[in-house]
Symmetry: C2
Subunit: 308 residues, 2 copies
Amino acid sequence: MKNLTIGVDIGGTNIKLGIINSQGKIISRGNLQTTKYAKSKNVLIKALISELDSLLEKNSLKATDILGIGIGLPGLVDYEKGNVIFLPNVPGWHNVPLKKIIESKIRIKTFLDNDVNLIALGEWKLGAGSNYENLICITLGTGVGGGLILDNKLYRGEGFAAGEIGHIPLNEKGKKCNCGGTACLEATIGRNALMQKAAILFKKRNIDLKEVYDLAEKGNARAIDFWRQTANHLGNGLVGIVNVLNPQLIVIGGGVSGSYKFLKPAFLKVLKERTMTVQSRMIKIAQAKLGDDAGIIGANVLVRESVS
Amino acid sequence: MKNLTIGVDIGGTNIKLGIINSQGKIISRGNLQTTKYAKSKNVLIKALISELDSLLEKNSLKATDILGIGIGLPGLVDYEKGNVIFLPNVPGWHNVPLKKIIESKIRIKTFLDNDVNLIALGEWKLGAGSNYENLICITLGTGVGGGLILDNKLYRGEGFAAGEIGHIPLNEKGKKCNCGGTACLEATIGRNALMQKAAILFKKRNIDLKEVYDLAEKGNARAIDFWRQTANHLGNGLVGIVNVLNPQLIVIGGGVSGSYKFLKPAFLKVLKERTMTVQSRMIKIAQAKLGDDAGIIGANVLVRESVS
């Protein structure tokens, strides 16, 4: 046993793999194009197993050198049974006993979880949230996701569906959200909503959020205000959760968090002003540190938390 | 050791005490008027200790017959240290090491917690929530409070201030709340707000909410609609928390929950319609079962959870 883990991050376009040591460092990497294998779940699982095998071989490692395999998936995962319940954006994934399948092919203990939960685990143990016992990790991207570390443990919810920060309503009335809800945070600050707003504001179709960031960097008042308003909505959305959970830290990750610099002041101001005394005094915010590796590093943490 | 506990519920007007057996049954009671002793915290603590002593004596019990004393207080309590940090409505209570004081006078292990946390513990183990691992307990009264059981454990938050369901904002803009926040649920459905609304609606100053309940019982459409609207706000306020925590059950207690019958249909409808698929499918609601004894029965649960 060399105290290594393998982290796997299954995304809509890529599958990233990494061998991770006990310090949380990625010592070897693998990669697969999800789209190339997405036609059937069996094809994808076969490709994943073969990539796992070659990663071991490339590093001259045996199954017994590996503590466990952690796998993050973009959807609903039964962590306890090791089943993928449902992936909304990868066809054919309904109730797949992936843990059992992997373990039958490769003799390494395997653990599955939702990808945002793994980001939360990664940031908690090896990123922006180390030494915190109660934190909320938010991913700002096409979706607005979340993971909760409560009492020094990942909280998954009764049906493994906890953490849906993006589906906190901002108001009692408003736009219908894709989830079926009304006035959800994601419907206002998800990437699509922000891009639509930016397109109108800057009179340019398909304007990229990176451009709005660059404009803000150049001091463009409209762009700075765009991020300030985004942060206000984010803050307003989080006030209730901060009052109810009394966390110590909110970690902001995901693609849109590239604009953290412009989001931070207004976000923190709203939280400090609108939350209750105790909650307000202790809440801190931080930018996620692990970037694109958060998923595989979090998968490594999942393994270490699960086997301990 | 007779496997008994003593539960104490310190309220703004009364202090209730009870000796509770291993089945959660109150086998003997004590009582003090808070107001009579509230002039100084030392006077109140002395009265409490003397009442505890006489409760033991009356039942021919020795300190060694009692597993522990649990005490619920209406404010911020450091459960770990056993300190009362602050009671907003009882003068002079700032950083009082009540656990240490009681234990030095009576040789029984003592545990303190916030009163709403104790209601949640009581309902979870011995009330409407038994056999549930993830539940939210809400108290509807002058304040709108809450307690969280997550992963089969009371969740207190980083600064022991978690559970503030009443201070979830309903909207981004709105009335300023006493807590400093904006558009909080409590500012819309707390007892005072409801009484003001009822006074206007029924053109009667100081109308009691019990009267509005009685009118609804008689089929008064305006009264039925009053409770329906209240339930809609409550539901709208809870959607975000249900999406984020994915609990199995919401227990509704507190004085205003006397109107549960008229609150239930609309509350459940909003939750089912506005929360996400998994969350919506599993969420249930129930009326609290323990009534006025919830505090002392919860204090009994606190003792048993703490010593085990």
